[in-house]
Symmetry: C2
Subunit: 421 residues, 2 copies
């Protein structure tokens, strides 16, 4: 078969191929398999062959029109999968931070028009096109830093019209950028101010109007709930997730971030694909997730920006729970760099470089139920590949927190981001 | 006068002009003066006019050959001054981190060939050209993230021949890149292994051979000492600094990083331009620095990577001490992003955005005694200017830790780094 594109002489390559089935107990602890002097052949956006350069060249019957592109001394991994973001929102929230530093508390910031109410107001006031335009700039930045698949949640509209607008913005963005997009309905992100003191009424609206509308228009693949004390309690979260499941959506849960509420247990019980945050998750909850095959998605940049402790990644990894890492990019944690997240994971959560790499690629692909098509460099998968300006996996941790992308291949297309075209 | 280059319609501009004299008590607390719809006229690498766009256009008698370049909605500040780096070294140290995570202690890492001995070995084994080539790649990355002036220390040669080689590499690099370079002799970085147990002999070598050789060849503007328990004690540090001062070098001190040894007091006593780290500095030491006009240079990325506490920036700022921020880029903290340092300063050290901005520009220029020529956007200063893809100063903290550079102007030359030429 004649490839469209041939990448050769890649110094080191971590294909993550051993991780491509459903994660198994202890999997995150495995050594990365490294191919030296690697090569990848691509046709129609799909990886058609991968291995050592001499093997791949021997397999090719007809050379591509373009000469092979060589990457000596560099390190190739699958494109980053950012499996938890709030990509789409109106406005920005830079005034909040200065108020916080000046000692203003959460309520004072809300009263000054800050916090989530600010984002809610600006999101509702934005047109769909404005939301697309904002999100486009962040998605472009993500691509320049190696993120080739983005999960994007709604959750700043908080009524049917505006939640649909947010999800339509994600859908439209998906037609504009080469990156993969996965859409998640998060109407259960907060109780909107007009439902203050009437949480049950908002849950009814979610179940009886919003979820059916989202499902009918096929605007979301996942439904997520912010299951937290004072936001959506476990019973309310269960009802929302059940309704979403019955409507054909897959499930995610914002679980046990601030208090130990039983979010991890609920995620396992409902067969959620992932449970996210998990700073306060109980051992029983984590065990239940392990049995249910629910991925633990950890979001260290949020802990960094809120000055909280980090989730106990080492405990989860030691017990065999597959761990994914995501940025949680949102108006309260506006950092979209997977390199920053990897730095926090390694320096603050004591993850090994190989564990962090699996957590931002194949495990993250599992966290959005896309491991059949992305997350590893394997024959038949979408050709989403990062060439990093870095000789080996450990270097990623040594040169922490900076963009090491040399070249991004997304859907089989070369996107040079660092050294220009 | 006919400018070579005219930047106009800059959304907001913080010139830092009010900060351009010797820092005064309380200065770091001042509000940033913001010019809306700003413009900058440049000729022969020098800023010749700065103000509101209408004013600048009215002042111009002859337009430049190039049309004015407009930056609506963006934010301009002086180029970042990274006033404390170990830019030049041989090898890399990615193996150390995995060993640390595996529970190996400092000595075990040293025995396995890691730690500073690894860098010492690779630096001594490198040719000057290899050192230049390594440092070039880091300096290029710094420029792409807005750093237009870099202080670069020696300190991994630890004998006359190799310290001179490191400083010559800095000198040669300075001829290859547009960024400004300031060279610092740090022969007193560690006791080299061949002087184990004979620290006084190494101090003698520093004073009687190395400092005279560096001074004679005019290879360093500053001399720095790692004044720390078990490395160079206060008395030894004083003698080294005194010798350097007599040889015409200005002084810096690595002070009170790990234990409270009196490094801040020593820096003040010797009239050092800056004292750096200061995690454990005494109140008396900080007061002495204030009186002596010694700049406090804080290095939060080092604290991040070593998992220590951060220096007490708030205390220093409240007492009126001028604070600079630098990356401390080195083989044990290989992050060269001023945006990362600013994020740590704001989120972990509670610095306000305006304080962080002064700390990476004009105060950092003072920390390398260059405030007469860089560090602010003012008539007569070198045209080192960042145009950030960001509408206002607070946004820098909100969108934390990522490269917000749109365009860098260094020495009057446009360097587009984000969106290509």
């Amino acid at each position: 078969m004649k490839p469209d594109l041939l990448l050769t002489n890649i110094g080191q390559m971590a294909t993550l191929a051993g991780y491509s089935n459903t994660p198994k107990k202890g999997e995150a602890l495995k050594e990365l398999t490294i191919i030296e002097n690697g090569a990848i052949a691509i046709k129609d956006g799909i990886i058609i062959d991968v291995g050592r350069t001499d093997e791949i060249l021997a397999n090719i019957t007809e050379m591509p029109d373009l000469p092979p592109i060589e990457f000596p001394g560099m390190f190739a991994i699958p494109g980053f999968v950012d499996s938890h973001t709030h990509l789409t929102f109106g406005g920005s929230r830079e005034k909040d931070f200065s108020m916080k530093l000046e000692g203003k508390n959460y309520l004072e910031i809300l009263e000054a028009g800050g916090g989530i109410l600010n984002t809610l107001k600006h999101t509702r006031a934005s047109t769909k096109d404005q939301l697309v335009s904002n999100a486009f700039s962040y998605a472009e930045s993500m691509l320049s830093m190696g993120t080739t698949t983005i999960e994007a949640k709604s959750g700043y509209g908080l009524n049917t019209e505006n939640e649909l607008k947010m999800l339509q913005a994600v859908q439209e963005l998906g037609r504009m950028i080469p990156s993969g997009l996965v859409s998640t309905f998060l109407g259960a992100h907060a109780i909107p101010p007009e439902f203050k003191g009437r949480a049950e009424d908002y849950v009814d609206l979610l179940i009886n109007e919003m979820i059916p509308a989202v499902a009918e228009k096929k605007l979301a693949e996942f439904c997520d709930v912010f299951c937290e004390k004072g936001v959506f309690e476990v019973e309310q979260s269960r009802n929302i997730l059940y309704a979403a499941k019955c409507s054909g959506m897959k499930l995610k849960v914002h679980a046990d971030e601030i208090v130990q509420l039983g979010g991890a247990e609920l995620a396992a019980e409902m067969g959620a694909i992932s449970a996210d945050h998990l700073l306060m998750a109980s051992d029983d909850g984590l065990e239940a997730m392990l049995k249910a095959g629910t991925i633990a998605t950890l979001l260290p940049a949020t802990a960094f920006s809120l000055n909280t402790n980090y989730a106990d990644a080492r405990k989860m990894i030691e017990m065999g729970l597959p761990v994914a890492l995501a940025t949680d990019f949102n108006p309260n944690c506006a950092n979209e760099s997977m390199f920053f997240t990897i730095a926090l994971a390694c320096y603050k959560m004591k993850m090994q470089p190989r564990e962090a790499i699996s957590a931002v690629t194949i495990n993250a692909a599992h966290a959005i139920d896309r491991a059949d098509s992305i997350g590893s460099i394997e024959e038949g998968k979408r050709a989403d590949i990062l060439i990093l300006d870095c000789p080996n996996p450990e270097f990623l941790t040594w040169r922490f927190g900076v963009n090491l992308v040399h070249t991004v291949v997304v859907n089989g297309q070369l996107v040079h981001t660092k050294f220009g075209p």
